[in-house]
Structures are given as C-alpha cells and as structure tokens.
C-alpha cells in the first residue's frame, strides 16, 4: 500500500518548474514583440506576434552576405545531426565487427588505438584540429563539419560490448550455412542490432545537432551556418544596438531546441537505454 506523500510531489513539482520554466519563458517570449519584451520583461503568456517573428526568422535573408535564412540553418543543423549519427553508427559498427569477429594480427593494438581517443575530447586539441582541416582544405564543407567529430570511440565501444553478448551459436550456424563474413554482418548482425542502432542514433543525433565550438571555427561561409552558429552571430549583432531583437533570438533558440527535445520526449525509452548503456 503506497501512501501519497505531498512532500515528494512538492519536491518534484519544484524541480520540474526549475527545469522547465526557462524553456516556457523562451517559448512564450518569442511570440511577443521586441519592444514589449524590452519594456515589460519576459512573458509567461502567449503573445500575438509569434507568426510574424517565426516567419521572419525562417525566411528573412540576414547575415553579412544577406543569404542566410533560418530555414537554411535548420537544414544545416539537420545535415550535421543526421550525418554525424549515421556516420558514427556505420564506422563504429564496422570497426567493432572486425575487432570482435576476426582473429587477425594487430587487433589488440588497433583496439587500443581506437579506445585511446576516449581520453581526449575535441576541445583540448581544437587549435591543431583546425590547422589540420585548413591543410586538408576542408574548412567550410560538410565533410569538415562532421568527420573530425567521428574520431571518438564511444560508438565502437558500445557495439563491441553488444556484439560480444551475441550468442556464438549464430555464427556457427551461419558458417554451416556457408555465409561469409560480409553476408553474416549484413544479414544477421545488422538486423539483430536494430534496437541498439536506434538507441545510439538518438544520442548521436542530439550530440551532432547541439555542436557549437566546432561549427563556430569551421564555418566562415554563412551558407554552412548551423542554428548554433546562428545564435552566436545574432548575439554579436546585439552589441551596440538600442533594442536588441529579443524575440528573434528567442525564436531561434526555440527552433534550435524543438527537434532534439521532441526526439527525446517521443523516443524516451530508447533514449534512456542508449544513454545509460553507451556511456558505461
């Protein structure tokens, strides 16, 4: 018999308010005019100018060259999130397959080579990474945006653990049926990993979508701007302006947070699985 304890609910309600109130403030304020926000502060109730603001943010050509729109940035963020997630899954599944299912020379060394990347995040080698990208002429390209972020072992480690838990009998049966390594991988392991792939896809999509520092350095050409990069430039414009475009900044923030938040809320179970199992 479980008693209802008001105190537990109070703590949870306060916690939820602390976490969600800022989001509600951003959402509601984005539907008011900049002047209203400037004189009255942030809003907790919806306003009437939302449609105009979002239309402007999405389609108005802004920026230095006058070419970049919110829609373009949204597209770039999507390319970044999807490209990163797909690339990560493909690379790490293949590498994990080689490391688990094959007996070959240097396998251990290769494993440690990949594994070692977990030690250092991109941020500590950001300067030389930029230099390398410049040398390879990859600045202002999608390849340059996505590939360097793939140089980490998180996914490989995750799939390695999973493949090790796959029963040996499957491989034995497949070999008796005459399946080669490629066929076994594509026809047995990949279908078997479907839930794992989905779980890791969610985590990686959010990670790619939310990248900030790397796109900031890599993209000087505005047609490659992501939403995160757009937030940086909208703030740079503010310096010196009388009434900053609060509403547009909020609208941009809302656009930047809707897709990842929606993914987390809709695929909650899978997301938690991916998170708690990939980081271990």
């Amino acid at each position: 018999m479980q008693k209802i304890k008001p105190f537990d609910h109070l703590v949870l309600i306060l916690g939820s308010l602390f976490l969600c109130l800022p989001v509600v403030l951003a959402l509601m304020s984005s539907t008011h005019g900049a002047v209203d926000i400037h004189s009255n502060g942030l809003y907790l109730t919806p306003g009437t100018e939302g449609w105009e603001t979002y239309k402007k943010v999405l389609t108005h050509r802004g920026g230095f060259t006058g070419d970049v729109t919110g829609l373009l940035m949204l597209g770039n963020s999507l390319v970044m999130g999807l490209g990163f997630a797909v690339g990560k899954i493909v690379l790490s599944m293949m590498a994990a397959y080689a490391l688990v299912y094959f007996r070959f020379r240097f396998a251990t060394i290769l494993f440690w080579m990949i594994f070692f990347t977990l030690l250092l995040p991109l941020e500590v080698r950001i300067m030389p990474s930029y230099q390398v990208m410049a040398d390879l002429h990859l600045l202002n390209t999608y390849t340059g945006l996505i590939l360097p972020l793939l140089a980490s072992a998180t996914g490989t480690f995750f799939f390695r653990q999973f493949f090790r838990s796959v029963p040996d009998e499957l491989l034995e049966a497949a070999r008796i049926d005459g399946a080669g390594p490629v066929k076994f991988f594509l026809d047995v392991l990949v279908p078997l990993s479907r839930t794992m792939m989905a779980a890791i896809f969610i985590i990686m999509f959010i990670y790619g979508w939310n990248q900030y520092l790397w796109p900031l350095l890599m993209t000087t050409d505005e047609s490659f701007y992501t939403l995160m990069r757009g937030i940086k430039s909208i703030l740079q414009v503010w310096v010196g302006s009388q009434i900053p475009d609060y509403n547009e900044a909020f609208a941009l923030a809302v656009l930047a947070m809707i897709p990842p938040v929606a993914v987390v809320v809709i695929f909650q179970r899978m997301f938690i699985k991916g998170l708690t199992e990939s980081d271990k």
């Binding site: 500590v124 939310n210 940086k232």
Partner: protein
Amino acid sequence: MTDIPLAATRDRRLAGRLAAWWRAEPASPAKRVQFDRPLTPWLFVLPQIAVVVIFFYWPSVQAVTSSFYIEDPFGFGSTFVGTENYRDALASTEYRNTALFTAFFCAVVTALSLGLGLLLAVKADKVIRGAESYRTLLISVYAIAPPVAGLIGMMIFDMHMGPLTQVAAWFGYDLKVGIDYWDTAVALITISVWKQIPYNFIFFLSGLQSVPASVREAALIDAKSEWRRFRDIILPLLAPTAFFLLVINITYTMFDTFPIIDVIVKDKPANNPMTLVYKVYLDGFKGNDIGGSSAQSVILMVVVAALTIVQFRFLERRVHYG
C-alpha cells in the same frame, strides 16, 4: 590463442606479456569462433582507423610539438623554445586564477547537479501517480544545446529585464551579470547546473530502479526510518553510479560548458570568470599565441587523461563485482 598451459600463463613475466601483446594475442578471444581471413577485417576497421589517425592522432601530436615552439605572430616561421611556453603558462597569475576558478566551478557545479539529480531521482522513484509526466519534464532539458541554455540564461540574468535580476533587486541586491566577477560566476553555475541535472537524474533513476525489490523489502523489515534505509541500503548500492557520474560531471564542467561561457562572457574576458578550455580558445584564436595555447592544451590533456583513466580503472572493477 596458442596452447599455453595454465601454470605457464600465470608465471608469465612482463617481457612475455609484452611479447604476447605485440603478437596481438588477446588474453581471451572475444568469441569462441572467429573468422580467419587476412584482408576482410582490415576493410571493416580501416575507415574508423583512418578517421582516428587523421583527426585525432595527427592534431594531438601537433598540439604537443607546437607547445615547444613560439610562432611568429606574422607567420614568419617558428622558434624552438623548449618548455618556455609551459613555464610561462604556469607562472602567469592569470593562468593560475583561471585554473583556480575552473576547480571551484567544477566542484560547485558537480556537487549541486549531483545532489539535485539524486534528490529528484529518489522522489521520482517513490511516487506512482504522475511518475511518467515528472520523468518526461525532468529529462527533456537534456536535449537542449548548451549555447541555447546560455542564451536563455543570459536573458533571465539580463541586467535590464531579466526576471532573476528583478528578484535580486527585491532583496536589495544589484545583480550585474557580465560586469561583476562573482555575479557572472553565479549565472554560469546556475545555467550549467540547470543543464546537467537531467543527465544525473536519468542515471540515478535507472540505478534506483535496478535495486531488486527483494532488497527493498528486506530493508523495509530491518529499518523503520526511511532516511536510514536510504543511507544504509540504497546509497551504497548507488555508489558505483555516483562515482561514474562524478567523473562525467567534472569533464562536463571543464569542457561542455564552453558554449555557456562563450554566450555569457562573449569574448570579453575583461573582468569575467572563465575556464581553462575557454582560455585555450581565447589565447589561440583571439590572441594568436599558438605555442602558449598548445602548452595549455597539453596540460589539459594530461588532466583529462588522468581523470578518464581513473574512470576506466573503476569501470573495470564494476564489471567484475558490480
């Protein structure tokens, strides 16, 4: 794996182990049955290796080498200076103050976000009515990007119309985020904690939910006080999760708060607090001091590598006895 008798395996000395490592014999193969082909595994592993070599090892080595040089600011070559960049960095008061602030920032953010995450997880684990809704509300913030969090935080702490500045004003305090050192620090800490609570919440909740019902029932019989049950039974069971989260939170505060700092401080470090990573970026990209920035990178690399190794050692233990 070749046939080595068990006793011999045990007696194997370091040299023998190194030789085995070089011959790439795993202590126990990942699978009882494996493919034995010369070329195929390379085809599978090569893409990942290529990416890792080009985008991880190459820049890492470059960071280490350029930390021993001073680059001419106008691009006319560079001079080898030995450890001067390191000595300069470690001797400068600015660097030390930044390091001190980073340590303080890490301690406060980690303590607060772990504590609040645990509190919310314990409560969410208890309630039945509305449990799903609470969980959804509490985890959705995880997906919000740090720069977006920084932007929203900046508005909430805005000196002109931020609600929290107004609240502070009611209490007669003049909150000056972006101008006053400690006011900015408070804003950075609040936003970073806000962003990190959902992560800790998810892990603590899944840790709590994996405590077997039989253990809970036994505890219920043994101890009447709820607090004692929590302290003596649940908390020790959560210790591995907490330790894992401790390391993750420290790395989070050191690195992933970069966008928050960038949005709040906005390249104007004048009298504002910042972390070591932000200083690497400022010195390297804004100050064009490539050698100094690289030396700082290498110092950071050592710190993070040490942290991660501690984490792995612990993880190994957890796999065996967890």
